[in-house]
């Protein structure tokens, strides 16, 4: 049994017959009420996305600034990691469609190997170059790991709170929530650049922007190309873990 798709509709104002999807009634000049409604719904959706995005961005800024007040102890690290995770989870509950892009739906192995390789090499390059740059500008190097030395399993704790937590929750936040909202608001390219920029800002270091923004662009590019957060999480995790391992095993002999 075939269902006939109607090709004409009656104008609600003058009852004349119009093509489906008309903009203006050809006999009375009234706008198509369905098109008007659709435009209104788009407006509402736009306002909603803009509101969510602005609140989240401001909250992120307040969060990073207040987190840099605390003393550098292991408890503080754990506390702020969990606090950021809670913020991200609240926004995901408000917008559950963020979770739709977690699992990749096609071509699994090749991009996985590519992002794995990129993560490891960028970990090596960044820890080497930032070390040199910090020495040049501040005459000291920045050590990530010293707060973890007080714990029983420093490497494991560092891998969890520098490797796993940021990889999962920063990806959910920037390649998930921020990317989705910007994509709805202004398109793919805006989403790639905007999410990378905000990702750079929340690291609260003007100097680190020179590598965090390109790294964020790369992760956003993967997010856009494969429509999944999966490769971003893997790339972010391999990068951060590589940095931790280099420091832990003292590869560059600081």
């Amino acid at each position: 049994m075939s269902v006939e798709i109607p090709v004409t509709v009656a104008c609600p104002n003058c009852n004349s017959i119009q093509q489906v999807g008309y903009r203006f009634c050809s006999s009375c000049g009234q706008r198509n009420p369905i098109a008007v409604q659709k435009a209104e719904r788009q407006d509402q959706k736009y306002q909603r996305n803009l509101k969510f995005l602005s609140i989240f961005a401001i909250l992120c800024l307040v969060f990073v600034i207040s987190s840099s007040f605390g003393e550098e102890t292991l408890e503080q690290e754990i506390y702020w990691s969990i606090a950021f995770a809670v913020i991200v989870l609240v926004f995901i509950i408000l917008q559950p469609e963020t979770l739709r892009v977690i699992i990749p739906n096609r071509s699994f192995l090749k991009p996985l190997l590519v992002i794995f390789f990129i993560g490891i090499s960028s970990g090596f390059i960044v820890s080497y170059l930032m070390d040199k740059l910090n020495l040049l500008l501040f005459e000291e190097t920045y050590i990530y790991l010293h707060v973890y030395k007080e714990s029983k399993h420093p490497l494991l704790m560092a891998l969890i709170f520098i490797g796993v937590f940021p990889a999962v929750f920063e990806e959910l936040a920037f390649r998930g929530f921020v990317f989705n909202n910007l994509q709805e608001l202004a398109g793919n390219n805006s989403a790639i650049w905007g999410s990378a920029f905000l990702f750079g800002l929340v690291h609260l270091s003007l100097l680190s922007l020179i590598w965090i923004i390109p790294f964020g662009l790369l992760l956003s590019y993967f997010r856009n190309k494969y429509s999944t957060l999966f490769y971003g999480v893997i790339g972010h995790f391999t990068h951060n873990s590589t940095v931790v391992m280099i420091e832990y095993f003292n590869v560059y002999n600081y």
Partner: protein, 167 residues
């Protein structure tokens, strides 16, 4: 025949163009109303362009301030990092002007968020600093927010006018 405004094909009995709503076979008062509607849209578009332009001017001003501050810090040699940081910030604001030209909404949002971050980060030095120059800051925020709202108008109305082929 073709609509004299948007060139889409009209049937013989069509009074109005179904694509752009131009009253092809109606009287002059209807045509006047049509022109008035188009004029309103063009006015909104023009206004949006003006507000986006003032955001760009604001970004140049902020970049200039940061640049001057960076040079001052570097010349005083107070701290090397303050100087470099201000120069980098000035560079980012200039980059945001280019960004606003390409992607109005995202560019303005990015510049706004970055500016807020710089304003908030003074609390790390002295929380009272956040209220210094408060009137100027409120003016800046107003310009940014108007810019964000007009980015939507710009996107919407330029698309609408393009769809109905009115330049």
């Amino acid at each position: 025949m073709e609509c004299s405004k948007c060139n889409s094909i009209l049937n013989d009995e069509d009074v109005y163009c179904p694509n752009c709503g131009y009253p092809e076979r109606a009287d002059e008062s209807e045509k006047g109303k049509y022109e008035y509607r188009i004029k309103l849209k063009k006015d909104v578009l023009e206004d949006a362009e003006k507000k986006m332009k003032s955001v760009k001017i604001l970004l140049y001003v902020i970049a200039g301030l940061n640049f001057a501050m960076g040079l001052y810090y570097l010349s005083e040699d107070l701290t090397f990092y303050d100087g470099i940081g201000s120069l980098i910030a000035a560079g980012i604001f200039i980059a945001c002007v280019v960004w606003v030209n390409k992607q109005p909404l995202t560019g303005i949002l990015a510049a706004f968020i970055f500016w807020i971050l710089l304003q908030l980060s003074v609390v790390l030095v002295d929380p009272a600093l956040i209220f210094s120059g408060i009137i100027l800051k409120v003016v800046f925020i107003a310009i940014f927010i108007k810019g964000i709202n007009s980015a939507r108008d710009y996107q919407k109305f330029s698309q609408q006018l393009k769809e109905i082929n009115v330049s």
